[in-house]
Structures are given as C-alpha cells and as structure tokens.
Amino acid sequence: MSAVTLLTGRWLLALRRRTHVGAVSAISLVAMALGAMALVVTLALLEGFQHTIRTQLERGGVHARLVPARGSELPGGDWLDELRRRHPDLEVEEVRSTAVWCMAGGLAVPAELEMVSGLPRVEVNRVLAARLGVVPGSELVVATPQLVLTPLGPMPLRRRLEVAVVREGRPGEERGVVRVGEELARVFQEAGRRPQAVTLQAKHGRDAWRVASIVQKDVPEGVEVLSFRELNRPLLAALELERVMIAFAVALVMVVAALNLLCNLALVAAEKRADVALLAAMGLPPRAIHRLFLGLGAGVGVLGGVLGTAAGAVLAGVLDRTRALPLPRGVFVVSHVPFRVEPEAVMLVLAVSFAAALLASLAPARAAAQRDVLQGLRYE
C-alpha cells in the first residue's frame, strides 16, 4: 500500500479519531450520497411512469401500420392473405374508414367510421365518448355526408347504433372514432373499396418494436410500413425529452454536492497544510500531494455514489414492491406510484457522482500541491 493510498484512506475514514478532516469528509460523503440517492429515486420514478406508458402503448396500441405510399387505398392482390399466412402470430386488421357525423344527447361531432373485419359490436374511442357523453349502452346516431333520396327529398344516410365498448384509443388520438364490423360498414361505404390501411399487432407487447422490420420484406411496392416508433414518435420523443430534462435538473443536486465537496476539500487542504508540509519534508513530491487530494475527492465520489445509489435503488425497490404510494383509481392507469431501477440509470448516476467529485477535487488538489511547504511548517 503506497503512502498516498494510506493517507487517502485514513483521511477519508478518520471519523473514529474524531478529527476535523474526518467530520468534513463525512459531510461531503453524506452530501454526495444524498445527491446520488435523489438522482436514482427520481430516475426510477420517471422510468416507472414511462415504463407504464410504454407498456400500455405496446399492449393496446397498433404495432405497425401499412399505408398506401400513393393515393388513398392500398394496392390490390393477394399479398395481404400471404402476409397473414406468413405471420400467423400477428393480428392483421384492415382499416376502411369514412368521415361521418355522430350525434347523441343533442350534440353532433365529426368522427371517423372505421370498418374492422370480424368486429361483432360497436366501439367508440374515449375522445368521442367524452365529446358526446356516451357510455356503453348509450345510443348513437351515425350519419354520412353522402345524400340518399327519400320520399322527403335528399337526406343524409343515418343509422342508430348502440355503443357496446368505449375503447382507450391510440395514444395522442384527437379524433373521434367509431369502429364497426364489416356488415354494418357496408351500409355506409361503397362496396368493393380496398382497405385504406392495415394495422398489425403482435401477440406480445414486447415485440411491438420489431413488427415493422419483420413484415417489411413481405409487403409489395406501393405500401409503406410505419413502425411502432414512427406511429408514436411524438409521444416517445416527449418521454425521452422528459427523461433527459428531469435527469439534467436532478443532476444539479450532484453539482451542489460537488461544490460542497470542493469547499470541504479546500477546508481540508487548509486544515492539513501543516501535515502536508510535513509530508513534503519527508519527501512526498507535489505530484503525490496532488494525487492525494484527487484521491480524497474521488474516494468521496465513489463511496458516496455507491452508498447513495445502493440506498436509492433499495428505497425505490421497496416503494414499488410494497405499493407504498397509492394513486386514486380511475384517474391513473396504475394503482400505485411505480418505480423502476434500470442498470443504465445506476451506471449513469455512478459515473456522474465520480466525475463530479473528481472535477470538484481538481482545484483543491492543485492548490494543495502548489502550497509553499515553509508556510505550512510555520502554520500552527
């Protein structure tokens, strides 16, 4: 063990001698640990909520969408049957939509009527349900802009439907949507129309991210594949931005802890100037004194970072497992505040705490190494 390592360790853990340097080291250590802990818990909280949102998206949303590269309808041919045959694990839905008006309770709002093959009931999304105030069991009147001749003259085509389900809808969806089966859709749409889009959904939500790449080679020319990421780009970008900004904001805690460390190391350097001078008289070169103070800072950074990160990870894990922070039902999709500790976040916090501590040590280390030995020896 070198003298520098021994000195660093002893000055860092000198609490049992109740020396000033020990108290100062302990304060810096606690500050750094609290900073790391705050950062880990915040990132775990953020990741908990974001993971919930992503999981909801993966489970309930469309994983890929096939749209015409040109025009409003997908090309004809049997490629869609072939796609179904090659990928039996994918749920393939043809989308045929028409602009309609929906009316209920004296209100009329524009909406999109989507034909979904094999759908046995009428579904509306939350947007439409909220705008019209309908719930499962409510009646809804759907009218097309096309006119049909009646004994009373040209009138919009109207149908009275009973809402069976209010769907969550796609994230970020702002339009009202009514989904009906093929039979009912034929009433509103021209016969023989090709689908305007095809939606694809994997059985497992975790496969959402690779559905587009899996089917890419199986679609003909003129069909564009929109991946899960592209379909949810605004939301995913917002989540990423939120993660970066909050991590940055909370990382300022580490900057405060690092500044505290800088002040404390400067104090230690001043407090220990006589001891440092004595060591210099014994032959400890300035480079080693520089290393000694860098080691002190790095030691506080590593020790504080590891302790704080571990404490933060344990706290986040306990809060998540025990569901200690409940959320009101019906307002959030989860029943409790979720925490999720990611290894990347842990590594990030450790790296930030170490780097911050090392940067904070540079100035005190340089000052201590350059300090006049004789002044230190006269200092009493």
Partner: protein
Amino acid sequence: MSEPAVRARGLAKGYGEGATRVEVLHGFDLQVECGEMLAVVGPSGVGKSTLLHLLGLLDRPDEGSLELFGTDTGGLAVQERARWRNRYIGFVFQFHALLPEFTLAENAAMPLLIAGVRRREALDRAADLLEQVGLASRAKHFPDQLSGGEQQRGALARALVAGPRLLLADEPTGNLDAANAQTVFALLRQLHLSRRLTSVIVTHNEALAGQCDRILSMTRADVGGRGAGS
C-alpha cells in the same frame, strides 16, 4: 580526505519585495563534515530556521551554492529534491511532530511508505526504530495518547527510519520540559553516533548545544559572514 557533508558558499536568502524585503541570509558560508554534530544557536529571526530549510532542500537560496555529500543541489528539479529529502535527509521539527490520524508505528514508517517500501516491511523497520527510542510498547497508540516527550521521540524515530545521512532538527526540545529535553537530546546524540549521522541542530538551549561537536552562533551582524564554529 572525504567530501564534507554540507558545503554552502555565498548563500543568500531574503523574503518580501521592494521596501518590505528582508535579507535573512547574505553571503553565508558553511561547511559541516561527515559525522559532525553541529548546533546552531542565535536570537530569533537571525535566520537559523531559514538556514535549516535551505540545507533540507525545502527552499532554494536566492544566490550561492549548496553541496550535500558532494552533489550540487542547485540543479535538482522539484521531484529530485523530494527524493533527496526522502532518502538522505531526516527532519525533526518543534511542532507538527506526528500525523494525528496514524498510529505511532505508521507515523514512524511514513518516510519508507513514501519511498515505496511495502507496508509490512516499513512497519517492521519502524518497530525496530521505536524500540531504539524506547517506544516499542506505544507503537499502536495514536499521537493524542502520547506525551510531548514521547511524540518527539517518535518524530526522531520517523526522521531516522529511512536511514538518512543528514539529520536536521529545528528546536527539537523547544516544547519539552528540562528533563524530557535532556532525554530527547541524549537519545538524539546516541543515535547520531550509532548511525554515523551528520546532524545540524537549531536550538536555543545552550546547555544542550554544548553537548554538540561544534556550535555555530548566528547573530544579525554575521549572517553575512562566514558561518564559523566556536
């Protein structure tokens, strides 16, 4: 005839700038032979400690040359001067005798640890020295558990653990009562002889100075002259 341990020629050292500048040493010559024990006495402020710092390579003279054991120290770089202090020079100071966070054994072993000697070997060698200064039973004690005399004997052990050729002591008994001062000085004298050291000891205690081989008495009038012994 062998090289002198210390040969200083025309040493000059001052502090401050312009009107506030104080010339502490000017044109100072000194020669100390190998194995000699030199006491430096004189009033406060005359430059005794400055001389010791120059001899210990803790400071550089403004002018003049200093040879230690035949080597001109003027050209030594910072790292080389540190290595010289570690390998060839032992210091005993009036204050800051020991580092408070370390045991007496660790304090005594510190110069060896700085030199890169393994911890176990360094502690063994420190234990030998502590036995020679009568502190073997106190090796695991911390400085605040030792008396002033014990601390200074520990500092003496530390100064000698790396086997230096030159021992520089600045008021080594200044903080001790008469009995302890005599004990420490006797020990210093004994180790000087047994280890064939060259020693330069700054002291205000003329009785102790009288036990040295030679006394260099510095006055304000003669810091500019030859450092003659009496």
